[in-house]
Subunit: 229 residues, 2 copies
Amino acid sequence: MSQEPRLIEVRKNVLKANDVIARALRETFRAAGVFVVSLVSSPGSGKTAFLEKSLTRLRPEVRVAALVGDLATENDAVRLARSQAPVKQIITGTVCHLEAAMVQKALEEWNLNEIDMLFIENVGNLVCPSSYDLGENLRIVLMSVTEGEDKPLKYPTIFNTADAAIITKMDLAAAVEFDSPAAHANIQAVRPGMRIFQLSSKTGHGMSSYFDFLHSHLAHLRPIVRRSR
Amino acid sequence: MSQEPRLIEVRKNVLKANDVIARALRETFRAAGVFVVSLVSSPGSGKTAFLEKSLTRLRPEVRVAALVGDLATENDAVRLARSQAPVKQIITGTVCHLEAAMVQKALEEWNLNEIDMLFIENVGNLVCPSSYDLGENLRIVLMSVTEGEDKPLKYPTIFNTADAAIITKMDLAAAVEFDSPAAHANIQAVRPGMRIFQLSSKTGHGMSSYFDFLHSHLAHLRPIVRRSR
């Protein structure tokens, strides 16, 4: 992955106020050595369970932190705090996506030099978040096996602006007769070549290759990233 | 239920262009004797499976029809056509909700006098559709057992503007350890007194009480509604 991810390229001529802030954020992250991963999905796809597993698993080696967006409640931040990583909730009110300015404000009290990897969990929505750059290095779109294999075709923009796709709740695949080849074909139809992971946050099955993928990005971008403390 | 549903009451001072069209639509529906039910939910909650069952089951007695909204694809209309009810797809492009004008335009070629009950399946989204009145008599919000019991708290507006809630995919309840009392409590917290149905479109379990509920509305609003042909 390049330092100028695809989601920027596809709309480089549509610089809005959000993009100006996102650019500044991206530069801030780069300067502080923070690798930023954003998660987008439908509500209930399992972003928070997945993020909790990610924080818990990565934390011994990598200084992780997370911002979580929701219209209402601090539920996710409370839940993620169990990972013992620094977590902050962003409450958007009636806004159906995070914006770069919200991320910027949420980070004010944190010292970015103490963070290696920041996860940003967007509001659960397959439409609104797609056009808001948050300064992330990697945007991951999640879909669960229970949602139906055609979601990439129905929500092409969010899949098209993502850098990788994760199919979650694989433990339920048999119960819902999930058609994995169809789901893969539909993802590839809207975003040819996109890397796809299939996993279950509940059982942990399939998570290793995703962690290898994250580590490869860290290793590639910043050779010395492991916690030295 | 009164003829002026709650979703209108809660924002009666916020008349926008959409509301003007929605009002006209509602009057058109009333004059033509069409009872209109809209369905809102997250993507993948099972609106289309539920709607297919509804159309198939109601069709012998009631002249049903459906409009289905999606950003892209005609998939849902194709799927719903199996019910043999008249179905039309509305493609919204990048818009994350249906608007009254889209409904009005989609209905141009239909004779409303030949329809007793019209279903409108909104774009899968728990935020955007909440503030767009479509002239419906009844707004039903769906959530599946796989989405997590806290969705009503995270998306209060969409639950607050709905007239009834349906918990779908009950056949998966055990597999996902669905906490039914918690889900009910969360729905009641944002919309006290709201009628809640639990069902599985796959097995058909629990659908009878929902059909009784629909029939009671038809019977109450328009005594002679059964198909006379």
